[in-house]
């Protein structure tokens, strides 16, 4: 981890207030605590995040395996696959997901049959991301929770890039991320946005598409 990443994470931690609620033991206090909690819970819904249902280590295994089947992956990556793991600033859940996914992917020997490198990048805008992708020969960009509102911009900015975009939340795929994950009947399911895949030169064979839920 670089010192700038450490510093950013510290800021994210510092920005968030830890809420602690006392545990009451008597019946009366318990009832009061319950009543207060109902009020608090009803009023508290500020931090709304997209649901990530598939564990990060399973997502990492799937990304590594699926990349094998992208016919353009080797040409895009060269000798080493560079994976950017995006983090939304001031979003603790996004930061946590980014770190957990990066850690999981680091444990996978190869991505798309290539050695690989992961970097956590704080999101500053779709255009800046597109520039970074082109400049650094990025193979995969992974988006954790917190990116819902940015997806239209990301979709259009990355439309001409040769890039596999991956989203942690299932809703991302319909909104323009190429590959995503869902949990259906307690099992992981791959989702693919075929139109966006074509635009971003991601080309899966039919045998793999058959295993995916396709958005076109």
């Amino acid at each position: 981890m670089t010192s700038s990443e450490r510093s950013k994470r510290s800021r994210v931690d510092a920005d968030m207030r830890v809420r602690r609620e006392p545990l009451r033991s008597s019946g009366t206090l318990t009832r009061r605590a319950i009543a207060l909690s109902f009020v608090a819970l009803t009023l508290t819904s500020l931090a709304v995040a997209e649901s990530v249902q598939v564990p990060f280590n399973v997502q990492a295994d799937l990304v590594a395996k699926v990349a094998n089947f992208d016919r353009n992956f080797a040409a895009r990556a060269g000798t080493r696959a560079l994976v950017l793991v995006m983090m939304m600033p001031n979003d603790a859940e996004s930061a946590g997901a980014a770190q957990e996914f990066r850690s999981a992917l680091q444990r996978v020997p190869k991505v798309g049959d290539l050695p690989h490198e992961e970097q956590i990048v704080t999101y500053t805008g779709a255009a800046a991301l597109a520039d970074m992708v082109r400049a650094r020969k990025v193979s995969i960009v992974y988006f954790g929770p917190g990116f819902s509102k940015e997806l239209p911009a990301i979709r259009s900015s990355l439309a001409s890039a040769s890039l596999l975009t991956v989203g942690a939340a299932p809703d991302y795929v319909a909104a323009g991320i190429v590959l995503g994950f869902d949990l259906v009947s307690g099992r992981p399911k791959l989702l693919v946005n075929l139109e966006q895949a074509r635009k971003q030169q991601v080309d899966f064979p039919g045998s793999v598409l058959r295993l995916m839920k396709v958005y076109s």
């Binding site: 605590a33 009803t42 280590n57 089947f69 850690s103 099992r187």
Partner: protein
Amino acid sequence: MTRQSSVYVWVAVGLLGALSGRTAAAQDVSDLEGLLSEQIVSTASKHSEGASSAPALSTNLTAEDLRMYGIRTLAEAMDFLGIAVASSDNSSGGEVGARGVLLTGDRGSHFLLLVDGQVLNDPLRGGTTFGPGAGIPIELVDHIEIIVGPGSVLYGSNAMFGIVNVVTKRAKNYSGVHVISESALPTSIRVGAGAGAEFKLFGAPTEITTQLEYFKQAGPDLFFAAENTGVDRFTGQPGRNSRSGAADGIWGGRRATHSSYADSPSGILRIVRGNTELHLQGAYYLHASPAGTGNFDDRDSAERETRAIASLKHRIVVSTLLELSARAYGSYYSMRNDFIASRGELCPFGNANCDFRSAGTAHWLGLELQSSWDWFRDGHFSTILGADARQRGVSTTTDAFDTASGRSFYRAAPGLARSDATLAAYAEQRFLPTESVVINGGARVDSDSRFGAVVTPRLATSWKAWEGGTLKASYAGAFRAPSWDEANNETSRRILADGLRPEKVQSVEVSVNQRVRTHRLIIGGFYSKWTDLVELATLSDQETISAIRNGKTTVPFTPGVHLTQYRNTSTVFNYGVNTGVEGSFASEHLLYGFTITGAIADRRTAQGSSRLPVAAQLFGNARVAWVIGDPLPTVGLGAHVVGPRPADLSSGFSPPPFAAGAAELRLTLSGKAPLVDGLSYRLIANYNTARNGAYVVGPVTSALPTQPNAELNPIDRFRIIVGVQYDF
């Protein structure tokens, strides 16, 4: 593991490999298929993870499996799809057990039943039902997560056999409106309507799923063999076994046409907005069975149960280090049980008919706070700390009425009117020292004013030792706090328990999980010790007289009729192996599964050692489905097999009654109906090879000169079930 078992594992793995041989390219895709077939579980550790590394034997039963194999209830799901779990038909909603232990009469209180994480076990008796009265619409089920083995470390009381967590579908997987009708011809019908929708509420993504349904059953009109209760020990004359029938001592001898029925409306509602989740659920369940010891085929011998649960949960991600969640919850339960008897030894008031009625209501309100600490922000070393505070209340009544006049025969037992608070705290540490090892340890302390603190620990580890293979080992404990009814209640014929202690179980287990492409094998062994099991003990004549003299009951002494009392009477030593294989061929067009469990359960009391009644030492299931594709139906064939087992509620019969080994076979055709968009169907044919179950029915539960043989509960052997669903 024995040498023979090892050979068995490797032969099975080899066969799986040989059976799934394909070209090299296809193998790569099958590796991806294998990853996609990984079961994701979260109940065992409150952490989403692969089933093979979860700190317990965890399996998911999927919605597709429930549909393909004609599953209608949780009990059926466990029988036909589960590993190491099985139910037993007692003609009154069924009972469930695990790994060769089944505790008859427990009302399901040794499994913790959750729906989306909310406890369904009732606050009065800790019981629950896995039959149609559970009020869980099968169409709304996304998957059922079954954790076998002690699971109190994060959940507290009742998780002794394990935990069943029913996860309902998200709105996106149940969108639109759905109308369902299903009938077991001609004995029952279930109609329901459900819906799912996603929308924005005050700018936040929101989803709602709901289903209302109504289940009604009348029959089957099963034949009950005649039992001769002989001369009544109270009247000196043959007893009456019906309200207006002859005093000839005969019970049964004909079909029961009035007393096998059920009536159950239910509903469930789940709303999720962002990180906040509201869950509401309610069910009413009226059910009756002709199998009891009172009058034969009396419609009024029935039980009415009402359940309602509500919970509101909110999750806050504070930082990359800390996540908090709070869950406020409540549960309400009421019941009324009527038991009609006319025989003099049960109803010693001349030519009268007695209605022994017990009723109760109970509730709890609670708040659970949980914090999750990811110390190195990468999931390698994380801690869960939680606390659960609960306020409880209960009230019960019991009385015996004259059915004609409504007059009370006895001075009613005082009943219960109590409330108290319980506290619990738990901690779990999850540590991944290397990429292939997971260590999970934790403990929970439950404080109950009736018993003092109970500590339940767990230590588990999993190791991905080779490609696709995982070794697991665990030690875990669980407990069940005796219910209010057992510990603090009395009825006219049951005296108050004296210093009842919580039941406990400790278990160690090891297992091997092997994935070969789309095929999975699990084989494991376990050893468990159950202590202080609570049983309804029959008092001796001496104890009965003593109880009457000491004012513990107002019931007059009746020779040969004994009082009862809940006591910690037995210990069970339980050990065995369980194995299962499942997978698919031909791109998931052909699916199969097979499980078998062999287990010994040795029950020890002060009187000696015996085998647990009803619990089979060998049981399992097998299934195969052929997904042909539209417009042709999916064909599912399932079998549930159970070995011979001793009958319950019997004493003094020679030879002791045994239920024979049996197989239940189920053929299911399911698919989309031709010509009508949105219409789908299920056709199920169910056949049971057994004529009888494992429960002694009727009043003769010990050998009499007039009735030397026990009669076992008859089984509904063949049934056709037709179901349709229309999706708008």
